[in-house]
């Protein structure tokens, strides 16, 4: 790809990051620290879960609710404590805030909608219910969140560095494909920890399941997506290199190909 093209993407990306920053601000009340998350299962939590969540996630959280059969991706099976979208290291349980964020924002490209039709308190109340489905929360505690350093400014140089990491050092293309379409040589054989087929994310669509902000993308490849083949690259790279890789991944978005962006 020519640097010129890349740079025009950077421009576009910065515009996007501004809008997503704006989004963050408007959505900020969703993750407000003011919502207190109960530590024990409450009646309200049980009721909310069985009314709104059990049809997909199942009465016992096994991901086997009445609607689940026809869905792919499958509703999460909560019994293993494997959560994809976290701020914590590979394999760790999520923090309550991580779960709260997923419930509030939903998971794009799946039937998991943003549950903003529920009150903040209702969303908080189901969290202990979800945790009660897995013995993992009894024997383990979430590790501390990974550190995210100050974001660098995307430039021709950082994009070139990110590209090098993507293509040579960490070989993301093996799963995600050189152009980021989720069609790398190892893509077809992937399955998740529950035995269901799973596709490496197609970056060109731009609809990131874990959120579109640069921090979201940074966190995804730093912490990995538990329960899936998407590994954590926490043992590699400096913080600056991580931002370069983040910017490069965002530069793979092809807005002209996705009608809603």
């Amino acid at each position: 790809m020519k640097p010129k093209v890349l740079l025009s993407r950077v421009g576009l990306w910065s515009a996007m990051s501004v809008t997503s920053a704006a989004l963050m601000i408007t959505l900020a009340p969703l993750t407000a620290r003011a919502v207190s998350i109960p530590t024990e299962v409450t009646e309200e939590g049980k009721k909310t879960y069985s009314n709104y969540c059990a049809p997909c996630h199942g009465d016992e959280g096994k991901g086997d609710g009445s609607l689940a059969r026809s869905l792919l991706p499958k509703p999460r099976d909560f019994t293993r404590g494997a959560y994809k979208f976290r701020t914590t290291p590979s394999g760790s349980l999520p923090t309550d805030q991580d779960i709260y964020k997923t419930i509030s924002y939903g998971v794009p490209n799946s039937t998991m909608i943003p549950w903003d039709i529920l009150t903040e308190q209702q969303r908080a109340s189901v969290i202990p219910v979800l945790k009660s489905f897995s013995e993992a929360f009894e024997v383990r505690k979430p590790d501390a969140a990974v550190g995210v350093g100050l974001e660098t400014r995307p430039s021709e140089k950082t994009l070139a560095e990110g590209k090098k990491i993507y293509e040579e050092k960490l070989e993301c293309w093996k799963c995600h494909g050189v152009e980021g379409r989720g069609d790398g040589p190892s893509a077809s054989e992937q399955e998740d920890d529950f035995g269901f087929p799973i596709k490496p994310f197609d970056f060109t669509t731009g609809k990131f399941k874990g959120g579109n902000s640069s921090t979201d993308v940074y966190l995804r490849f730093t912490t990995g997506l538990n329960g899936t083949p998407m590994p954590s690259f926490a043992k590699e790279l400096t913080d600056e290199q991580r931002w370069s890789l983040t910017h490069y991944v965002l530069s793979l978005i092809k807005p002209e190909e996705c009608p809603h962006k």
Binding site: R80, G81, A82, S90, G91, S92, S134, E135, A136, V139, R140, K169, L170, E171, K174, C175, S186, E189, Q190, D193, G224, N226, G227, T228, P229, M230, P231, S232, F233, A234, K235, E236
Partner: protein, 244 residues
């Protein structure tokens, strides 16, 4: 940066504390550490009676025997010399008191070479750390799917070393998602009486307090065997186990 390092050291100290307390509580439940001065040992051989094992051996090469094992499949590796079966985990699981649990300071190593994990089977005592390396000049991942032991899934480039500690007894499959066919086993056991057979099927377990025990045998493909053994003070008990 200094501060960061300091925190790192603190974290290590703390996590060690946790490991100790975790194995302490499990020790109270199932296993008591005692001084074993007059213990006996078991020495044995695990064989595979699958016929094809013993083919002709070319002795013309003199000492240079070439490869003395024959792989019936990736999983079943049998010695051409004596039909011994490699990578079998042999353990005394019903032992309630015995020698101290000691986690090796030098970590067992699992290396990824030419898209295979070497060794294929590693047995460790709870609380032991294992170093997982990448010796290939390309990306591998190391992925486990446990619930009690914290699972993990890391991308590893050339020369990466990932150190992980296993705190609960469990048989764990380690896979690489980039090369779907390669995997390894880590068998975590809650007492120190175990061994993994070598390429001729031999194993050895020592310092066992005299008494009668069940010897448990596990092979990834051929399954489990069990045998009663009686240990006498300062004697070597010989056993032969056959998968047929």
């Amino acid at each position: 940066m200094k501060q960061f390092l300091f925190l790192g050291v603190l974290a290590v100290v703390f996590s060690c504390g946790n490991i100790l307390s975790a194995s302490d509580t499990s020790a109270k439940k199932v296993y008591t550490e005692i001084e074993v001065s007059e213990g006996g040992s078991i020495v044995g051989n695990v064989m595979f009676a699958g016929g094809a094992a013993i083919t002709e051996l070319n002795l013309h090469g003199g000492w240079d025997l070439g490869d003395s094992t024959k792989s019936l499949s990736e999983k079943v590796v049998v010695s051409k010399i004596n039909g011994g079966l490699k990578s079998v985990v042999v353990s005394l699981t019903d032992i309630s008191a015995g020698k101290k649990k000691v986690n090796p300071e030098i970590h067992p190593v699992i290396d990824q070479q030419k898209n295979s994990f070497i060794p294929r089977v590693t047995a460790i005592l709870v609380g032991t750390s294992v170093d997982i390396l990448n010796g290939d000049q390309e990306l591998h991942t190391v992925h486990t799917k446990t619930t009690r032991n914290q699972p993990f899934n890391y991308g590893a480039s050339y020369k990466m070393r990932i150190t992980k500690t296993f705190e609960y007894p469990e048989t764990i499959k380690l896979t690489c998602d980039v090369h779907k066919k390669s995997y390894a086993w880590i068998v975590v056991l809650d007492n120190p009486y175990f061994d993994v057979t070598d390429r001729n099927g031999y194993f050895e377990i020592c310092d066992i307090p005299p008494g009668a025990y069940k010897l448990q045998v596990w092979h990834e493909e051929l399954g489990n065997l069990e045998k009663e053994v009686t240990i006498h003070s300062k004697e070597i008990t010989k056993v032969e186990l056959v998968y047929s």
